[in-house]
Symmetry: C2
Subunit: 190 residues, 2 copies
DNA sequence: GGAAAAGCGGGGACTGTCTCCGTTTAGTGC
DNA sequence: GCACTAAACGGAGACAGTCCCCGCTTTTCC
């Protein structure tokens, strides 16, 4: 993936500025922040923004890859600290909280775990799927997770539960509750 | 809620035309269909559209209330045909399918079950919540549904699961699967 | 039939996306 | 240093969408 020729100095500078501006704007205004406005913040023309990041999703991904990778790494930390089943739940929780807090990230993760997600999103998608797969496998080996669950199903359900919790406006409290309901099921507690 | 004075004939006519055009447009192009375009289809000016339906959600609601009420009624039909637990699952399934099929309906139902949904949406919201409450109560009485589940939680989780299934692009097949996972829980089958 | 109320509608301000192309600039070889 | 070239810039402008305003038309009611 290395550029055949390194980026020109001004291009590099603008790229970085755009990324910084985007992170800021997405955090403040959510995933629909105006792209022209981001260009303005970065002090570049909109043409420059669109050349570096042809779609909104591309920019979103570039702005959040490191966070996503951190979440992937976090999965492994949790796997060391906790028994597999708990590690998995806790990871889903942290993932959900991050999704809710970092307002731009929802669309990104959503399309990353969608069927037929664009090739541009492979980075985030594979990071997530890898982390999920490791946790799922461990929990299944331990016997605390149903054996027929696919990692990507877990991610999608996690996304769904996060969506449910967003509807409640409750910044995390509902998320825990809904995750419990998902893991335990809706049948009476046994 | 009756108008103090009945609608003027031309107003009534335009209102109906707008509704028909909106239903068509939302079905074809999803919830983000252009409002000006809907006005054009109906053969009225955009001012007229905005006077009758001040927000997109208002139009969406007006276009779908009857479908929503039908879904509410369907809950009671199912309650008669099936044991409470199954009726509930089946209803969630039909609700999800409708949400996915009628492309404009997702946003509507989403805000209807969100905390602090606008006053304008009370009609759809209460219809849904009523239907859910009846099913929940019956299933809890039967003992096939955990006693601490609130109806609105069920609706939100249903919405979340539908979202999860949309990510899979699978038009219904995944929805059944994800609903099963929700009701049975992620623990190994007992 | 005529006055007042109700309603119409499209022009226009505004915001956002995205492209095109003339201009500028960094890098390179001399 | 200097000139040259390919890369990169940037902002004007085409387009699409939302939404409001207000002069004009239609309906209603007496």
């Amino acid at each position: 993936m290395a550029q055949s020729r390194p980026m020109r100095a001004d291009a590099r500078r603008n790229y970085d500025r755009l990324l910084a501006a985007a992170t800021e704007a997405f955090a403040e205004q959510g995933e629909n922040a105006s792209l022209d406005d981001i260009a303005k913040r970065a002090g570049v023309g909109s043409g420059t923004l669109y050349r570096h990041f042809p779609t909104r999703l591309a920019l979103l991904e570039a702005a959040y890859v490191d966070r996503i990778e951190a979440l992937g790494a976090r999965a492994d930390e949790l796997a060391e600290e906790l028994p597999p089943g708990e590690a998995l739940t806790e990871w889903l929780y942290e993932l959900g909280v991050a999704t809710i807090r970092m307002r731009g990230m929802k669309a990104l993760l959503g399309s990353a775990v969608a069927d037929g997600s664009s090739a541009a999103l492979t980075a985030c998608g594979t990071a997530m799927k890898g982390a999920a797969a490791r946790l799922v496998e461990a929990a299944q080996a331990e016997g605390t997770l149903r054996a027929d669950l696919e990692p990507v199903e877990l991610l999608r359900l996690g996304h769904g539960v996060t969506t449910a919790s967003e509807l409640a406006n409750g910044q995390g409290r509902e998320l825990r509750r809904y995750l419990t309901l998902l893991t335990e099921g809706l049948r009476p507690a046994g």
